[in-house]
Symmetry: C2
Subunit: 420 residues, 2 copies
Amino acid sequence: MTKKNAFYAQSGGVTAVINATAAGVIEAIRKSKKIGKLYAGLNGINGALNENLIDTSKETPKNITKLKHTPGGAFGSCRYKLKSYQDNPAEYERILEVFQAHNIGYFFYNGGGDSQDTANKISKLCIERDLNIKCIGIPKTIDNDLPYTDTCPGFGSVAKYIAVSIAETGLDVKSMSSSSTKVFILEVMGRHAGWIAAAGALAKRKPDDSPHIILFPEVCFNQEIFLKQVNLSIKKYGFCTIVASEGLKNKNGNFLSDSGLKDAFGHTQLGGVAQRLTNIIKEKQGYKCHYAIADYLQRSARHIASETDLNQAYSLGFEAVKLAENNKNAVMPTIIRKQNTPYKWKIGSISLSKVANIEKKMPRSYISSNGMYITKKCYEYLYPLIQGEATQPFKNGIPEHCSLKNILVKKKLKKFSLNQ
Amino acid sequence: MTKKNAFYAQSGGVTAVINATAAGVIEAIRKSKKIGKLYAGLNGINGALNENLIDTSKETPKNITKLKHTPGGAFGSCRYKLKSYQDNPAEYERILEVFQAHNIGYFFYNGGGDSQDTANKISKLCIERDLNIKCIGIPKTIDNDLPYTDTCPGFGSVAKYIAVSIAETGLDVKSMSSSSTKVFILEVMGRHAGWIAAAGALAKRKPDDSPHIILFPEVCFNQEIFLKQVNLSIKKYGFCTIVASEGLKNKNGNFLSDSGLKDAFGHTQLGGVAQRLTNIIKEKQGYKCHYAIADYLQRSARHIASETDLNQAYSLGFEAVKLAENNKNAVMPTIIRKQNTPYKWKIGSISLSKVANIEKKMPRSYISSNGMYITKKCYEYLYPLIQGEATQPFKNGIPEHCSLKNILVKKKLKKFSLNQ
């Protein structure tokens, strides 16, 4: 009997370590006696829809190793969420058609909540049709908002980046504050969950260390209390550093970044939350402010990635293949925390039906009573995730990244039009 | 004869390696048979004006070593430019009074062009008054705009940060571009000189590598040519990454960041250049854009500092003391490039009167003919400066920084009011 092949796709926003997960999947399959080739989707699930399958067997072992220190998504990712089968059966039929045409018996979908949901839906369909295709979700999201796993690969490295960045910029502001900038705001990602913002607190060792204020999307912004806290920090330490989540909302539930700015033509312009906070502080308190917007810097900063995060990302990819080899279906490998100090973890697994469409926000017990910092409980949870510095080779002063050949498999089917 | 003491002050915006220069000064003076104690100004030259002198002899050798991996300014810096003696004699008199009260015979001023000018003015005054005080400037500026030195400490580390950051974010954007963000803009410092923006080009090894466009303050922004280049890049590579200098100006000489945005009260709001470029691209081309504003992140990122820069920063501090010991006055130690590959450099020196008030901008021969990239000549100049990764110790996942005791010397004079 011919061995069945596998299909792997990256989904949604990429991370500093998603390619480590890809390396885990590829290396496990290369060792597998049960699974044939691994095809990766060019640009995620669109690779399946368009029959753009990358033959990963054409890549050298050396380049696969290099994936572990290459940020971004090596095969391309995409922002594309499949509708339900009822709403768009053609897409599901097409995916199954492509899977069958290329003898695919294993589907690994590497993404956040939406991707786990999609993997679950495809799994159900395969069972209904009596197709022997194992569907395994692999967690990935810097937002850290997947349930049933201690953490999500990608998050630990963003957390480390944010903590290191606010520690360093905090020292900068501290030294300038007597005559210049008194307030510094670091705007970080997290539309709905404040995990990334919370990680800033890992920089603090002494009371005057940065950050002094953390603003979460889970806590409604209260301008009065905020400005009081800014003043307090400046009075105590001479300066104030703030980590602000882009998803910060006011009491009406609107994003604070929806600032009401209009350009010369009267068009509303979306500023960032840092810009908005800066304007408030300048207008109400007159302090000199600076802000940085970390944007993609934070999720691609492989150069300061967490070794713990990198190891977990790789292991989840590797173990996802093991689950498939052991005939598991519609599951996602997870991280189980065994102990805190020193941090010990192992790989578990959970049914996709349980994971799908649940968003794990910061529990209230992780946020301090004034809503602008984390609690000890949160610190205990977070600090293990940034431990270890994931090394990487440099060449001419710049990190060495791999560039895959990404050779496509010959197509067997007719062209497919998306949204047909 | 009692040994004369020395005074050291940090000036202007701090860098990832200015404390390494401080370490060089301190360690050289600790070895000196000629110079007594080293007092550091609390918050730069304001420390002299207010007689806030930090006794660096109270710090442990271990903490001085730690300065080499601590960003920011360990004694505080300030943005304060002394007027001419004619315009404000009181400040000069006060500085000399403080120097004499504390038996200071050596003045080390660590800063950019303005600071070299101040050091020069004080030196002239000391000569006029027949005071035996040696005034030595020590270069520091991320802007890399001091003349007569191959480079300025602080710049190489910012350059490395920018190159690494655009390499990493470029991979992120590349992997998302088929269905999401197509254009990414990294806004970097440099109000008048484009050296920092230029450093982004060090990330490029292959044609599709980031960045695809660099925007300099030296080149007037041409919207039409810019948008054409964005389109070209997207057509060729599927995405476009841009490093934009905050000092980018339009043909009328106005900053592009002066965007004409007004808030709800009709107040003009200053956006950043990245935000402005994003709005132009969205409006004219409709591409999905993202931008990051590096702000203080870039100049405090000791975790990715250039080893070359760090070594130069330390050596310039150390050799500044040697110059003083050798009775040199009104000079600044410089970096002399001996050869390019491998980069070899030595310390030279230049008269402060030559350095003061000259701003070294990017020569036109360093900018490509279309005004949106660097030339090979510029690359040859830049790449040695980011070589080597300056290591640093980590503790619990975060870089270990030092925190000095900063014990002040007992005051001997009456209080001084600034701008009296």
